[in-house]
Every structure is written in C-alpha cells, then in structure tokens.
Amino acid sequence: MSRRKLLSELTLPRRTLLRGAVGGAAVAVALPPLEAMLNQNGDALANGDPLPRRFMTWVFGTGCRLEHWTPATTGSNYELTSELAPLAPVKGDMTVLTNFRNYVAGRRGHHDGVAGIFSCHPFIQLDPMGAPYASKFGGPSIDQVVADIIGEDTYVRSLQVGVSKRHLQNQGPTLATISHRGPDQPLYAERDPGALYDRLFMSFTPSDDPTAARRVKALDAVIQDAQRLKRRISTNDRNRVDAHLESLFQVQKQLLAIPPDCEFPMKPDVEPYMPDGAEPLAEINAAMAQLVVMAFSCDLTRVCSYMFTGPSGGAQFYMLPPEEFPEHNTNKDYSHADHHNVSHINLPYEQDFIHRSTIVSMENLSYLLDLMKNTDDGAGSLLDNSCVLAASDVAEGWAHSEVSMPLIVAGGAGGRLKRDVGHYRSPDEEPVHNVSLACVKSVLPDVDDVTELGSNVGNYNGFTNTPCTAIFEG
C-alpha cells in the first residue's frame, strides 16, 4: 500500500526535545534521540529500561450482531467470524474477549457502556427540572489514568481523535467523547485530519522566533493571576482553575519544545463531506490512523483515544447500498440513514444492515492495527509496544445489551500482553472492568503504578483491583 510506504521512508523516530526555561529565556536541553538510547538488540533502552509503550482506546458505536461476531470456538485456532474477518491481517496480534459483563449498567443505554469500559466509574446523571438529559463521566477515563503516568514528558500528553462527525453531542460529555480527565474535564476529539496535523506537526515554535520568550512571560503573568483568583472562588471552581493551571504549564512547556528529528508527513487533504452529504469515513480514518501512528512513532505522544463512530451516533454507512432481502420483500436504502436509528429497528433487513456496518467498522480498525504492525519501533513493531483496547458501547444496539459487548485487545504492550490467546470466552461473565485494568497496567513503567480502577455508586459497581489474567502477562 502506498500509504504504508510513506511511513517506511521515515528516519528512525527520535524523542521530542524539551528546552528548559530559565528566567523566561529558552535554553536547549536536548534529550538523546531514541536510537542512541537503545541497547544492542534494539529491544530495550541502553540503561535496561523498556521501550516506551503506547496506549489506545478505540470505540465504534452501537454494537454488533452477536451471532455474526462471536467465534464458535475458543483458543488460538479459532475461526474469524464474518464481522471479525477484516481483522485477519492482525489475527495473531489480538485477543477477542467474549461473555464479559459491564457492571456499570442498567441506567441509560450507551452511557452505561462507554462509562463502564472506558472509565469503570458509574457516570453522573444531570437531568434536573425537565431539562434535556445529560451525563458526565464519574471519574477519569483510563487513557487519562495512563496519560498522567506516561504522558508527562511528551509534547502532547494525550491525543483525542475521531472519524465520524455525526456523533451525539447533546447528551453531555459521556457520549461526546471517551476521554475525560474528570467529570468536568472532557477532552474532545479532533475530527479534522488537517487540524490534527497542524496541532501535532505545525505548532512547534520556530527556533528563530523572538517572541517565544515573551509568550512564556505572558503565561507567567496569567499563572500568577489564576493562582490569585483561586483564593476567592468555590472549591469546585478551584478544581476547574487547577485544571486550567495544569494546562497553562503544559502550553508553556510546549512553547519551548524543539521538534523531534523525525520526518514529518505531508498534510492530509481529505474533504470532510462528500457531495451528497455523507462522510468519507474510510478516507478520514486512513488519514487519522496515519497521523496517530506518526505521532506515536515520533514519540510526540504515547496515549490516544480514537472514536471511529460515536456511541449512539448517527454515522452514515454510504458504502452499504440497498440489497435485495427477499424474505422481507423490501428494498430499503439505508446508505444515508442514521446508524443508531437503524439499530433500533428490530427487523431482519435493518439488523442485517447493522451487521454489514460492523464489518465496515472492523475494516477501519484493521487498517489502523495493520499500520501499527507495519511500523518499526525499536527491534519490533509499534503494535508490539502498544496496547489497543477496542470496544463498543453496547453488545447489540437494538437491545442496549450489556453482556458480551465487542471487546478486542490488540498489541503486545512490550511483552506484557499474551499474544497466543486468540478467542477467550469468560466462563462466568467476568467484569469488563478487569480488561480495562489489565490494559492500563500493561503499558505502565511499573505495573504497580496503578493497582485499582473505578468506583461503585449504589448498584453500579465498576471498581476493580483484579486485572484480567486471560490477557495480562504481568
């Protein structure tokens, strides 16, 4: 594929260099480039530390058709089902997990799912006084738990990207994004590849820019100001200003960063909509996947959340034209329909459409994982050093079911994840939260940096301190 060739032409990724600030003036503090830090085998750093690990959460909206999703047998020799078939190129790099249960469930379809898998905290409902329903995550999402530990030294602490713009934005942060630093700090995904490109590759301060020090000085005043403001506002607002301060420090640090010695790609040029109004999902996905892989590869960031389509989202699967469906004596065209709406029509043709759309979603996941597999990283591939947790917000959309939602863990996390499991079916509906915890632990410098995740409120219990041993090597 020509796209992959573009990546293979890269020079070896090097680490972002950070300049330190002394009295507002920039002083270069060069970190050694990555390859200079490797040991002779290229499988660890010279000082014995492992290569950096990367973490990704990936979501597609509104579930699958379990009868076409769930493999018939377990173990590494399982046969891919029709919905999993697009993942054939990375079959040996991933584990399919079935019969897991989301215990943050029973309040609101879709909200339950993303909160349960991606944060393990019961979400917070905001539905007072007849206002439109909305909810917030009850705690940080797992990508942010990870970013707090492995994101601090990279140019961007974590990336949030999305593909379909037709995602639900009017039920609060829970459905709008899968990245949350806390209930009041959702991190929204960038869905424009060009804008993501600018943020990643064009935002470095040119080395001859005389205003860098002035902008740093301006932020010094703003930081003073914010700290003074904190004294007279409510405790809740103090938390918000603390988040603001944290970001002011980060932006100040970014102002002083030197671009990594890494050949940047061309700016992607993808139209956001096709002439008939549909989104070119595959093209946007390809552009996003390349940018994310490049950002990982150049060590601009180590953490990413990726929303292919949104939970309860209205993506249009324009590539699925009407098909004859004799049993039902109809010939409906859903190629411009709202994906979530169709999922709720419990008729054979509509559910077959959901089945076929799931295959499209897996093709797009496969593109991303395959790209990671074909990108060198040390002695292995980027996928070898990553953990990708891919899931959906429900098992079957029409029923909002919460057992056996699509769940795939891909990558080796630098040896921490088992690679030969194939299909693991839980005998007793293990908590999906254990998978979340296993994924978090797999990418940390020390697996004990996080020992538990989530919380319980009433009957909604996402708390876990037992990582899923089916996938976690420890």
Binding site: R107, Q185, R199, V222, D225, R228, I233, S234, H244
Partner: protein, 569 residues
Amino acid sequence: MSSRRYSRIDLRRPAAVAATAFACLAGAACGTTETPPELPPSAAPATFAPTQAPLRRLRVAQYQNAVATMFSVEAGLAAAPPADPELNGYTSIAAAQLALNDDLVQDYQRSAVAVAAAAMGDHARIAELLDCNPSGANDAACMTSFVQRTGRLAFRRPLTENEVDDYLDVGLFAAREASDFYAGVEFVIVALLQSPNFLFMVEVGEPMADAPTRRRLTSYETAARMAFFLTDGPPDEALLDAAEAGELDTPEGRREAALTLLDRPDARRAMRTFFTEYLVLDDLELEPKDPNLFPAWSPALARSMREETLRLLDDIIWTRDADIREMYTANYTFVDAPLAETIYGVPAPNGDGWGRIEVPEDQGRSGIIAHPSVLTRQANPESTSATHRGLFILERFLCRTMPPPPQGEVPELPPSSTAPTLRERVAVHLEEPACAGCHAISDPLGLSLENYDPIGVYRDEEQGSVIDASADHIITGEFVGAQGLGTALAGLTDSTLCLVRNLYRHGTGHVETEGELPLLEMLRDRMAEDGYSLRGFLVSLVSNDAFVTIEANDNIADYEATLAEEVKP
C-alpha cells in the same frame, strides 16, 4: 473616563402593537385592547432562593464581541476561540461547569496572539487606550496607564495593584527585549486575553447585611452579567462608568440600562443565539437526509430554514414587540426563493432577498412548530419520527422529559408495506403497556405533525393513505394538526413558563432550581400582564433584585477574613 456617553434615554416599546397584532387564541380575548403600561421593576418573591455563581467561560460570540469592543472589528475577526460544547441543552451551561484542558488553552493562546497582532493595527484605538505618549521603550508610567485602561475592559473591573504589577512586568519585559514600547503593549494584550479573569465571568459578590449566606453582585459584576446576557457582549466603557457611579445598584437603574442595551443590534443577535439553541437549530446544515428521497435538501436550504425561523422571531420580538405566543400560532412567515418554491409552493418574493408571506391556509401551518427548520431537525434522514417530534415539543415547549427507553426486548414494528402511515406503524408503541407509558405521551404530539414530511413539505397522504393528524393528549386535550397544537400550546401557562425557564437557563448558565421557580413564575405572570412581551420580560428579569443576588461560595468567608487580617498593621 470615556469619550462615549452612556445613553440613558428610556426607549419604550412601540405603542399598541402587543395586543392588537396578536392572532386570536382559543380561550384568549380577541380584538383591540389597550397596550399595558411599562411595568415598574418588581421585588424578588419572598420564597426566592439564589444559587451560587460558578465561573462561566465566555462563549465564542461573547469572546469575539469582547475583543471587538476592546480593540477593533478587525481584532474581533482575528479572534479564534475554541468552540462551545453544550450541556443540558445550552452552551452556557457547559460554560459554567466544564474546565479547560491543554487543547483549549493552546487555542486560547493562539487566539490571543492573533488578536493582539490585529489590535496593534488600529493605531488610533491603541493611542486611545494608552492615554499617554511613551517616552521610550522603558516608559513604565505609560505602560501602567495602558495596563490599567485595557485591563479594566478585559476584566470588566479595575485591576488590583498586584494584577497591574504582573501585566506591567510582561509589557516591560517584551518592550525591553524588542527595544520597542509597542511590542510591550502587544504582549500585555496577549497576556490579558489568556487570563481567567478575561476568559471567565467571575462573580463573587459582596456581603449583604441582612443575609449572611447570600451576596449581592458588585456593580461591575452586574454590568458584565447584564451585558453578556442581553447582548452577548461585554460592558463597554460607558456601562462600566455607569457601574462605577453606582447606577446599576437599583432596579430602576438596571431597568434603564437594560432598555438601552436592548436597543442595540447586538441584543437581536444574542436572542437569535438563544433561539438557535432553544430550538436545536445549530448545525442544521449537517442534518443528514436521504438524497434519493429529498434531492432538494442542501446545506443552503438548511440555512434558509433556520433564517426563516429567526426572522419570524425577530419580527415578533423586536419589530412588532408582539405577544411571544405568536411563535406557536403565526399564520405568516418569511421566505427566500428556495423556501418559497421548494417548501411552501408559493411564488418567490420579489427581488433576490426575503419577503413576508401569508402561509397557504390549506397547509394548516402554525408558527414555528410547523416551520421546516424544526420539522426537518426532528425527523430521520429517510422518514418522519413521531417520537422525536413529540419529545421535542414536550421537552422544549412544556419542560417535560421522558425516561430512557427500556433495555432488552423491543416490539417489532410492522413494515410500511402493510402499514402505510406512520400512525399505523407505531400503533404497537401505544398499545403495548411496556411502551405506552412514554410513547402515549410523546407520539400523539408528533403524529399531529405528520402532514409535514422529513424536510417539512406539506402532504395529505403517505403511500396513498390519508394522514390522520388528530390527537387526544393528556396535557393538551383533543386537537387536530399543527394549528390545533399551536393554539393548545399558546393557551397553556406551562408553555410560556417553559420558554422563560429556558431563557433563564441560557442566560444564567444553569438549570433553574426549585428555589428559583417562584421568581420565574412571578415574572411569567408579569409578562402575561404586559401583553406577553419577551422584551418586557428581559427588562423585568434583569431589573429584579434576584438577578443580582447569589449564594455565597464556600471559600469566600475565609478569604475575606484573611484579607481583613492582612490589612491589620
């Protein structure tokens, strides 16, 4: 302090329009009545309980207008603040709850740099803000003057000594580095525009002698709250001067200031923003429609639809200052050529712009509830939706929400081959006990609008079967079609109370609490006495003392005690 004087002319509503122009409503008196006199400001109800005032981030329009007011139109155009998320229906509610993050702070940084560069292009305005001639790059006195003057506009209050020192530091550092006084000025702007005191409305208030847990907004905070609410813009120098002079501390003073603010074109734009959010019409152009079924659908048509609705509301609220309930019942609207030809089937207005038309009687339309914008938004890409349209009416016009759909088994709906009309297809929702609990409340309202297809074109039939638009509903009783629904909504006290509650959510950045409802009920009743003038409602809301009363935050007492301690010798 300012060369521009703040106008205190009392601009009363145009006489005798409110009642006379209002179409007859079921149960309402018809015919000509006297226009009610302007009502004097009212006192807050005794049962009113205020809420805390969290930091509220300026919305995009507020940020842009703030920058344009401080510097120049060009500076406003250079501003590129990050987009507004939404919560419980309003961007202003998200603005009062959500925190910033790395991406947003980076966006604000870039915007500040771009605005400052643009602002420096207007030498006359910069000279006005300086109020001195710099003697050289290191002229600290002149830089101080700039920091104080510009800082007062940015923070909507005078800066404290510490604040002046910090921003002065930035200016002198940059001026020294560049050997250019004006480079210092530019980076003072860069810094001020990134401060939380600029980016957020900060409302801490001052103690109230008779209510220790409550506080009253300071005069400056009042000016900012009024201006941002009524005009989506900051208090200008004249309004800040009025605040400094204590003119906004009385209901009468606020009333006069409100009348002046409402006379500005910004007030119309601000109300358009409210109605766009209230009716969920933002990004209507991204609404997907099946191009095979609706080849006329396009982003341009969507923009025309939204503009139609906003023009009708402009006409009711501002041009005629008429009964706001006409939004449910108006038998006229505004169209451009695409709407006239594609949706209404009437001749295009003369010229290439917009024209007022009487809605063809046989289409049975009634105000905005049968506007193509609303009908299109609350429909699926390929079909109408009784549930979406019904829930929209319940939620937005009656402030009722429904529980989520049940999880698990859902009944199978018959295909359109055996059930040609939507009423027949969703009948099972109204029969199955597990479904009917909610669908019997939402769907009849939506089914009454079945004469309008997914892009709002009138139709008699669906697949050859005549559409039955009659409804019998628990809240409205029996009615037929859009006109029946419009008349029913206009006759309900709940609909105007719901409108007022929504306006309050948008204006204050929070969903009203039980303790605030008595205020809104009282103001709604006063609006009824005042010919249902929405403009009158806005004036009575901001002039009421409740508008400037907040609950003390949990740290303010300690803070003020510490300050008092620091002041002691």
